[in-house]
């Protein structure tokens, strides 16, 4: 529904009241499991396809650890983004209801979760090709949905969405940095470092 008719979904979301726990347990937790699960299946079956003839195969235990950390990183990103959003709400005249922030993030993250099906075949370039349009779609949903769901003016919403994107950029870059650090310390591909 939200992927086909976002505007109507945002209006419905703003009129309904969700408790944060309800959204987290019923939706976020399960949606957050999808990317690591797809990555686990893809990595054990096909290995990392980095554009070379021979894929990079990892032991199943290492893949399990990477996917578990991926899951926790996504959950941390989700919860921290909601808390940051709630903190920003005071500046931009938006609602401080944590349930609304959780609900908005679930909707905004939906295209990315859908795109993460591509993890079933973990070719890095193909994943990038699929996830970039999904990311643009998510950004579109954030800009359109934020003022409606969080009940603020479109202009304030535009500013708040830009600030949220700034935070999410940083969270994503942090994920890259943390992943790289884990590889260097032995959780990941065998590297000569």
């Amino acid at each position: 529904m939200v992927l086909i008719r976002p505007q109507a979904s945002f209006v419905a979301l703003s009129e309904a009241h969700f408790s944060a726990l309800h959204v987290f347990v019923r939706l976020a937790l399960w949606l957050g499991m999808m990317p690591p699960l797809c990555a686990y299946v893809g990595m054990t079956k096909h290995g990392w396809q980095l554009g070379t003839v021979e894929p990079l195969m990892l032991p199943k235990v290492t893949i399990g650890v990477i996917c578990a950390l991926y899951f926790f990183a996504l959950l941390f990103g989700f919860i921290s983004a909601a808390i940051i959003g709630r903190w920003m709400a005071g500046t931009y005249g938006a609602t401080r209801d944590l349930g609304a922030h959780f609900a908005l993030l679930v909707v905004v993250g939906a295209p990315l979760v859908l795109g993460s099906l591509m993890h079933l075949y973990p070719d890095v370039f193909l994943n990038l090709l699929v996830l970039v349009p999904c990311l643009i779609w998510s950004m579109f949903l954030l800009y359109r949905g934020l003022p409606i769901v969080l009940q603020t003016t479109p202009e304030q919403g535009m500013l708040m969405a830009s600030s949220m994107i700034g935070y999410l950029f940083v969270a994503f870059v942090s994920l890259l940095g943390i992943s790289v650090c884990l590889w260097v310390y032995g959780i990941g591909p065998r590297l000569g470092v």
Binding site: L50, V124, L128, L159, V193
Partner: protein
């Protein structure tokens, strides 16, 4: 004169970006160099970096600094003829630099490739620039020196120091010289220069721009003037130490590397303080944001500033750097700063400044809005493709097989990167098309108009400053 600098900056941005797009295309289709030496990647890449850095960025900074210093000091510029000398001499220097690089003359130092005769000319012109800028501050009618002028002042002083120290060389002919420093010392001096050129030119100078144009465009005082002063001194103190993080795992002492890493992490605090100050300044300017395409570009540039200033210190951590160094990730990082921060804030300022300089509204707001989306899409595509390429490259380079041997060959890794290079070319092209649209828009606004001369406000000498944070 400010308009002349603006036009020059726009032209150099087009030339520099065209060279960049062509060089990016050469990485996808190497035959595009046509076996013609000036078009080979090695030469074209330096023309690209010099044109955007010294042609576009410095011309933009000279123009906006002259604009800002006159308005914030309530006085006409000191020695206008010298200011015109700076304009013409600087354009000649950039042209001579581009020609010499196409000919293959190269000092062999990144971002300091120009040979010694041009280096001497840069020094002379830079001193004249400093005389005009600080001369205007010396005769100001406002007691307080507005924060933008502190940033512009630091930019002028530090770039002079960096350029002179790093360019010391022994000439062996008219077009060739060798650095005065040897080995690891040369590397340390070079990256002290290189990193602080990023710091005081691409960050400090542009923060000067931001602190004047953001409050002006949003018609709001700076959120916290005290924070801007505090972050200025913290920025000036911490940036200067961070250069050796470009030399991790090289033949320089380990404590120098560690110091650079720690100072890079500390640098995050003043950088983000500035970003928060900017975002909070604009957070109440709702109406302006709807009407003003330039303001949207500046707000977006702040997001990219925050990203680049977080990513940089993170990449200075040695555990990250061991994977990221020498990969395309660095190129992505540089462009998230250069395109996302420097170019976007400059474009935003030009959309504000040019209509006021000629007393005409912007020719097309719609075209400026299209430019905004093209720029956002272009820079996103560029950065994401380089993140993908960099991580791939780092992992493949370092991967070992069961026997502990390097698993992948150089050719195989290069072939794996080609799709990312194509994606980068698309991103860069989108950004370039946006810049062309802006050029058309600005030239149509200027076309047939004369510059407006504004008399300085009639305040008495050394009158008290306006409310803090109001430029």
């Amino acid at each position: 004169m400010v308009l002349a600098f603006t036009i020059a900056a726009v032209l150099w941005s087009l030339i520099g970006m065209a060279a960049g797009v062509y060089a990016a295309a050469e990485l996808v289709w190497p035959a595009l160099n046509l076996d013609f030496a000036p078009l080979t990647f090695g030469r074209l890449r330096t023309v690209h970096t010099n044109a955007v850095l010294f042609g576009f960025a410095v011309s933009a900074l000279m123009g906006t600094s002259f604009y800002t210093v006159q308005r914030t000091c309530h006085i006409r510029i000191f020695a206008p003829n010298l200011a015109w000398t700076v304009f013409f001499a600087w354009q000649l220097i950039v042209i001579a630099g581009a020609v010499s690089l196409f000919m293959g003359a190269n000092a062999g130092k990144e971002y300091a490739e120009l040979e010694w005769p041009i280096d001497i000319a840069i020094t002379v012109v830079w001193v004249i620039y400093g005389v005009v800028f600080f001369g205007t501050i010396a005769i100001r009618r406002i007691e307080q020196i507005y924060i933008s002028n502190w940033f512009f002042g630091a930019f002028i002083l530090v770039v002079a120091m960096l350029h002179i120290v790093n360019s010391l060389a022994i000439p062996v002919s008219a077009f060739k010289s060798y650095s005065l420093y040897a080995g690891a010392q040369d590397a340390i001096v070079q990256w002290w220069y290189g990193h602080n050129a990023v710091g005081f030119l691409l960050t400090g100078g542009f923060l000067g721009m931001m602190y004047y144009f953001l409050p002006k465009q949003s018609e709001r005082p700076i959120w916290s003037y005290r924070l801007s002063v505090l972050s200025f001194w913290a920025f000036a103190y911490s940036y200067i130490w961070a250069g050796p993080h470009h030399l991790h795992f090289s033949a320089i002492p380990e404590w120098v590397q560690t110091l650079a890493m720690v100072m890079s992490l500390i640098l995050l605090a003043p950088s983000w303080a500035t970003m928060i100050n900017g975002i909070m300044t604009v957070s109440t300017a709702r109406q302006k944001l709807r009407e003003d395409p330039g303001l949207k570009l500046i707000v977006l540039s702040l997001a990219f500033y925050g990203l680049a200033m977080f990513e940089g210190p993170m990449m200075a951590i040695r555990s990250v750097n061991i994977i990221s160094h020498f990969t395309e990730w660095t190129i992505g990082h540089v462009h998230s700063g250069a395109l996302g921060w420097n170019a976007l804030i400059t474009f935003g300022c030009f959309y504000f400044m040019v209509p006021r300089l000629v007393g005409q509204p912007l020719w097309s707001v719609r075209l400026a809005n299209i430019h905004f989306w093209l720029a956002l899409a272009g820079v996103m595509l560029y950065v994401l493709s380089m993140w993908g390429a960099g991580i791939t490259q780092g992992v493949l380079w370092l991967s070992l097989d069961e026997l502990g041997q390097v698993r992948y060959g150089f050719n195989e890794i290069l072939a794996a990167l080609q799709p990312y290079y194509l994606l980068r070319l698309l991103g860069g092209s989108a950004f370039f098309v946006g810049a062309i649209l802006m050029s058309i828009n600005l030239f149509m606004t200027i076309s047939g108009q004369r510059t407006v001369t504004v008399a300085p406000p009639t305040t008495s000498m050394r009158s008290p400053a306006p409310a803090a944070g109001t430029p």
